[in-house]
Symmetry: C2
Subunit: 203 residues, 2 copies
DNA sequence: GTCTATAGCGGGATAGAC
DNA sequence: GTCTATCCCGCTATAGAC
């Protein structure tokens, strides 16, 4: 892997576990198996710029999971509940350490690091756009798709935080149940028709 | 106000805006209008101990808002939507700076500062217990009350994060709409009976 | 108890050899 | 482009005058 890629990946890992301020450049360098100077060679903006790149990369990877997880289930509500359960299992299996780095960094430095706040905002706008696109594709009207997208994203972010502190999967499972129930109550007939359409599109 | 109280309050403020790692002891001292040494006089555990006290104090204050906001409305779903709208307005009016310090600190140091993680866990356990107590008081069965409590808390935490990055009230408003709709779908007749009972209790 | 001065350390960033 | 040595600053924490 290229040096700059290793640096970005290492930063993403460290952000997930210990946040931005606590992550030192030297720690980052040794985690990336690169000398300190290489960081400034590849990223002239230093630590800030590496973190911004890590947020964009991680954010893009996260939202790719949405169709991967939800396409598995013909019923959208079932898929949502399963996605929360998967996130809960991952969190538990990694020792409650793997937060979403985007959320962590926003909490830390949204008001003190404009570059990072902007990167986080772009990532989240992308999440919302992709969520709406996916859910309208599964038959939800635009305004409902937007509400459900925000419901999913806020519940996930909050569940990461609560699960990490409580060391329990319950925040994920309970939040997943309620979002799924909300979606199920929206209008099952319209949605199953949409699912049929979606499956047809692929064949 | 006593010196130690000023210190705890200043720490809570700083945690909300810039997190734990970025908050220095000297900055804390000047914000509390106290000399550096006073911090170690009142809190022998230093910065860590001040932060733990700030989390407990803020956490207790936050959960007191729950009945204050929801008692205003006879219909529970309406009250929930209004509470999210109030949180959104507060966030906007403070320049998108006022996160929940408990969530921020968890993201930063849950795996590196055991004392703070434990303080956050205690605070959140208290939130859950109070949420369940309040909602069962308004007529929800225990298991539903627990799910709704987690739905409220995770959505709020996540909405703080997204609203701060996006500088938009939409995460709060959209999440509030969905949680309210979920509650409204649970069983309106049982709940309005409970509301009548609650009002009667007060007179 | 209140406050000042400072120790001791680790941070981010840089210069320059190779 | 890779790596080392080092600068300078700010941090936490403490010692000790008042």
């Amino acid at each position: 892997m290229r040096t700059d890629e290793r640096i970005v990946r290492a930063m993403a890992e460290l952000l997930r576990v210990q946040g931005y301020a606590a992550t030192g450049v030297n720690q980052l360098a040794s985690a990336a198996q690169a000398p300190t100077g290489s960081i400034y060679h590849h990223f002239r903006g230093g630590k800030r710029e590496v973190a911004a790149a890590a947020l964009r990369q991680t954010g893009a990877a996260y939202i790719r999971l949405l169709p991967l997880l939800l396409d598995e289930h013909d019923d959208l509500a079932t898929g949502i509940e399963a996605a929360f359960a998967a996130a809960a299992a991952d969190m538990r299996d990694t020792g409650w350490a793997n937060m979403c780095p985007v959320g962590t960094v926003v909490g830390e430095v949204a008001d003190t690091e404009p570059l990072l706040r902007e990167a986080a905002a772009e990532v989240m706008e992308h999440w919302v756009a992709e969520g709406v696109r996916y859910l309208t594709g599964r038959g939800l009207p635009e305004n409902e798709a937007r509400d459900v997208t925000f419901a999913l994203l806020t519940a996930l972010q909050g569940a990461f935080t609560m699960a990490r502190a409580l060391r329990s999967t319950e925040p994920f499972l309970a939040a997943g149940r309620t979002v799924a129930a909300y979606v199920a109550a929206l209008g099952p007939p319209a949605r199953s028709a949409a699912v049929r359409g979606r499956s047809a599109d692929r064949q």
